[in-house]
Symmetry: C2
Subunit: 213 residues, 2 copies
């Protein structure tokens, strides 16, 4: 029987791989139907795995979605960490700070970080009351390393430029600007221009810190 043979092959693969397949399939289903339309049957169909698999690897459907949220957050953090590691750690000069902000803009709107899948899923999870219990950093960007980083850059640049206003507020403005542009991408993924988004960030930074952007 063909299905028996296929099943035998499938069973050879690693157990952890099945976890990944399920997480990936779940993400695809949420992408198409939203969290409210995500069912075991659809995940089963999307993944090609058996029905009992979900409760075997994850204890429940809700837990699967929860773990997906954690999984994707870590993926986002990793992507951003790889960016931050290749730049100078200490931000001493305003030139360094400006360069790091510029690099941050480019990273945050790169295809790897911001795409239709990541945006849709981010907004889907953000809307689920249950997932907000995961704690800070899972459904929003406040209180994250990213925020700390922007803050330190703004402090250096505010001092260098004599910018009026609390550096903390300037940092918050830039963070919010990024959030808002993500929202724009989510609403209009086809019309969105990454270059334009980076440029909007640049002119905003230049308005705050003349001479450095």
């Amino acid at each position: 029987m063909a299905s028996a043979e296929a099943a035998r092959k499938k069973r050879k693969v690693d157990k952890d791989l099945h976890r990944e397949v399920l997480l990936d399939a779940t993400a695809s289903v949420i992408l198409k139907h939203g969290v409210s339309g995500t069912t075991i049957s659809r995940i089963q169909e999307e993944s090609g795995l058996s029905r009992g698999m979900i409760n075997l690897h994850f204890q429940s459907k809700d837990n699967l979605i929860r773990e997906l949220a954690i999984h994707l957050t870590q993926a986002y953090n990793d992507a951003w960490q790889s960016f931050t590691s290749q730049a100078p750690q200490a931000v001493s000069t305003p030139e360094d700070a400006a360069a790091r902000l510029q690099a941050l803009f480019a990273t945050d709107f790169s295809e790897d970080v911001l795409n239709e899948r990541s945006a849709r899923l981010t907004f889907a999870f953000r809307a689920e009351p249950d997932l907000q219990a995961l704690g800070p950093g899972y459904t929003e960007t406040r209180g994250t390393d990213l925020h700390d980083h922007v803050r330190s850059c703004c402090q250096v640049l505010c001092e260098a430029c004599g910018t009026q206003g609390d550096p903390e507020r300037v940092a918050m403005a830039i963070m919010s600007l990024l959030e808002g542009l993500w929202t724009d991408f989510h609403a209009h993924p086809r019309e969105f221009s990454r270059e334009n988004a980076v440029e909007i960030c640049r002119i905003t930074a230049r308005a705050f810190f003349p001479g450095y952007f």
Copy 2:
């Protein structure tokens, strides 16, 4: 029988009132359980009305949610229209433009416009793939009167200040800033400060348009 008497009283009220009650109850359920946790049973419990009511007034549960999204969008638009009607229509001088932007900031973060209910529901609807088919202006703010208004203010102010950069991009920056601050409110409704949000908008506007904020 007490329930019979109560039912008799209830039936006296206007039919349209029942529609409102159902919409309001649905909003409350979404607030607590998200769209994925919104069921007929819960709406019935929250509203105190009978089960068949939902399909009598709205044809289906999905349609009820759809009409709620439209209802709330109109409420938001009305709130904003009442703001825009009491200010000078034509934006000729940069002082006018600055005053109107300031008033817009105050309005957008007022208790009437931005509150836990409106924010939660906005983000809930935004995450539903089906509701994005409603068209522009229902799940986001691009292409709305609001956007046009900000754009015209920015054009006048850019010219007056000799601000570098496309006025359209500056307008987009300010729109995105508002969106991002809404997101911050949604994530941290208790810690959020309306005054701080307005101040962040002000220092950003001042950075773009020195001398007017």
